[in-house]
Amino acid sequence: MDFELNEDQRMLADTVSSFAKQSSPLARFRKLRDDECGWDPAVWRQMGELGWLSVPFPEEVDGLGGSFVEVAVILECLAATLVPEPYVPSVVLGGYALLLAGSLEQQKRFLPPMMEGRTSLALAHAERTSRYDSTVVRTMAKRAGESWTLTGEKEWVLNGHAADEIVVSASTPDGLALFVVPRDAAGLTLESLRTLDGHHAARARLEGVAVGADRLLGEPGAGAGTLDRLMDLGATAACAEGVGIAQAMLAMTVEYLKTRQQFGVKIGAFQVLQHRAVDMFIEVEVCRSMTMEAVMRVGADDDDERRAAVSAAKAQLAVGGRFVANQSIQLHGGVGCTDEHDIGLYFKRMRALNSLFGDEEHHVARYGALDEFTAGLE
């Protein structure tokens, strides 16, 4: 058992943290909230140059051959100042879709431009009636000779407003399939929507979008298994980011308790507020421990081992992460309810993370339905 980062991972954490602090302070995110894109292509390229977009991909496609541990380190560190570049949609969702389901040729075609920060990716999986079940897909893909025709509507495609290539799930007679659709494909309409956390997503309408067979990832029918893993990677990424956010909120709140004066004393002297802060501290530590487990098991060969760890961590983020976020606002009092104060920016991001990749109810039910949960009770 080893919960330590290795030397390289520690260096990575240091580099990303100082980047977040110095090159992307919260003021940058605040400004980009009003921007049409919400993130800066120049900073994205810089991240590419630093190698952050290549860490989990194998060396044969010019990646750095790392693991999800590095991805989680980067996400947690970037969360400290809410760096808005599309790391999750591009690296974790689009990138891993290619890694898990794409041929070597497809990986070599789509991954390097993204890893260099010249393009970004997205995953279009959610639909009006799917909620958190990625296997409910009404978007249809019909084979037409050597190509496919896609028709349907996808919702809340993270970074869909800006992505160059979008991985789209669709139903075929053989089951679910994933296609890489270019943003300028004929018949594809992307409607940019603002999200509560200051980011953007897209609604994607596909009206007879034709894609070549070279843009189908793997065999038709293999999509469900890939999506199950992608949703777990997304949930784990949300947990890693959530730990960074919760940690930041706890630190800001404790600092506030040590400076704000009322009744002639620092409010941190009041026991009721001390205990609330301790409750927040406990939730942060539990989130961190469970996220570590999810990060270490998200690549497990045993599907149920992965599902149990990820669902547990995501359910904890829903309960504990939200507690930290809510209490941070409460302990800041009136100023916490203003747009001017930074605490609210973290609060909104935490709320967004809890609406993505499965909510508490979804993950608790999934956890309870695993074979292991009721094994050996007779």
Partner: protein
């Protein structure tokens, strides 16, 4: 980062599992299967079996009779014992005064006391709380006055001295200097329970077990050489010991086993032709609690992995007493709810309720103590607020 155990560690786990199955006497094993309550004699029988195997104090250094296990092996042994439902050994000697003597005791004290703690020949209890000194432990008043001829004369009362009626020795915090700041006048003293003037009065707990006692000292004469560490230095020892106790009562294994029992009850409980555990709201309730427990377990793993690297328990372990005791209470609350009307049964003859439900109600009641003993959870929060978050009272 890596969660796996080495092949050698996995082999060790198999070895432990096989040994427990073979070594546990049939009557204890039968009780273990239904999570029955083990009485003092049964606990001590199991203590001696573990002692003979050399595994009774896995966390002690080899020079004092420990098996020399690293943190991972200690963890595996503890986990396997808990999963088997083996009796929980009395912590007062093995986990409390023993480690404290190893850390602070004189050579003569180590030689005198440690072997008999290991063998189970001498049973210990703890004398901290007093009627007027609970959370405010430093307000304790039991006085030890040096008579100038090698003895203290003890007067006062200790309370919640768990299982003092079975104990041969008690370790106490006593006031040896009433003239200084209250924390500065306390010493850590070992007292033979057979000393004239020491009297024990057991009382019933909420669980109807005689676990609690009052222990009275009426001019009891105790050798001054029985002080551990410096005279008037007892507060430092008390704090060190509370650290041990805090991680000890995270009770991950106990809760894991109890939660499994909840599932077994819910699987065996038929409701209108179906199983209780198959009701979605029940499935979700149990799953929520198991997820909470899993979080505690992971925090515990982190602390253990840190210990393996020689790191002192950090912030990740300081809260485990709080969370662990809450979870243990919640698990038994869930068990009571799962039992429906059967939860009403109170010490009836066998067969009144299914065997698996037999001990739930008394343990449920007794477990209200878990958020109180070892320093109430509120006191624990004061400690974390001050020492980890840096929040002061001014």
């Amino acid at each position: 980062m890596d969660l796996s155990f080495t092949p050698q560690e996995e082999r060790f786990r198999q070895e432990v599992r096989a040994w427990i199955a073979e070594a546990m006497p049939a009557d204890l094993a039968a009780k273990a299967r239904v999570d029955g309550h083990f009485d003092h004699a049964e606990v001590m029988r199991w203590h001696r079996i573990l002692f003979e195997k050399g595994w009774v104090a896995p966390h002690w250094p080899t020079e004092h009779g420990g098996p020399g296990f690293d943190a991972n092996r200690r963890f595996i042994l503890t986990e396997e014992l808990e999963l088997a439902g083996a009796p929980l050994l009395s912590p007062f000697g093995l986990s409390m005064v023993g480690p404290l003597l190893i850390q602070f005791g004189s050579d003569a004290q180590k030689k005198r006391y440690l072997p008999k703690i290991l063998s189970g020949e001498e049973v210990w209890c703890q004398g901290y709380s007093e009627p007027e000194a609970g959370s405010d432990l430093a307000a304790l008043r039991t006085s030890a006055v040096d008579d100038g001829s090698g003895s203290f004369i003890l007067n006062g009362q200790k309370t919640w001295t768990t299982y003092a009626q079975y104990a041969d020795w008690i370790f106490c915090l006593v006031r040896t200097d009433p003239t200084v700041k209250k924390q500065a006048g306390i010493s850590f003293l070992l007292i033979d329970m057979k000393t004239p003037g020491v009297e024990v009065k057991p009382m019933l707990t909420l669980g109807h077990t005689p676990a609690f006692c009052d222990t009275f000292f009426d001019n009891a004469r105790v050798p001054t050489e029985n002080v551990v560490g410096p005279l008037n230095g007892g507060w430092t020892l008390a704090k060190a010991l509370l650290g041990h106790e805090r991680t000890l009562i995270a009770a991950v294994g106990t809760s894991s086993r109890a939660l499994r029992r909840v599932k077994r009850i819910a699987a065996a409980t038929e409701v209108d032709g179906g199983r209780l555990i198959d009701r979605p709201e029940w499935r979700a309730r149990i799953a929520r609690l198991e997820i909470r427990l899993r979080g505690l377990k992971m925090a515990n793993y982190r602390a253990l992995a840190g210990a393996q690297l020689g790191r002192a328990p950090g912030p990740e372990s300081s809260f485990m007493k709080i969370r662990g005791s809450e979870i243990l209470q919640d698990v038994f609350e869930l068990a009571m709810d799962a039992m429906g009307h059967d939860a009403l049964s109170w010490f009836n003859q066998e067969g009144a309720v299914p065997p698996i439900e037999q001990w739930v109600a008394p343990v449920y009641c007794y477990n209200r103590a878990t958020t109180i003993y070892g320093g109430t959870n509120e006191i624990q929060k004061n400690v974390i607020a001050k020492w980890i978050l840096g929040l002061s009272d001014r």
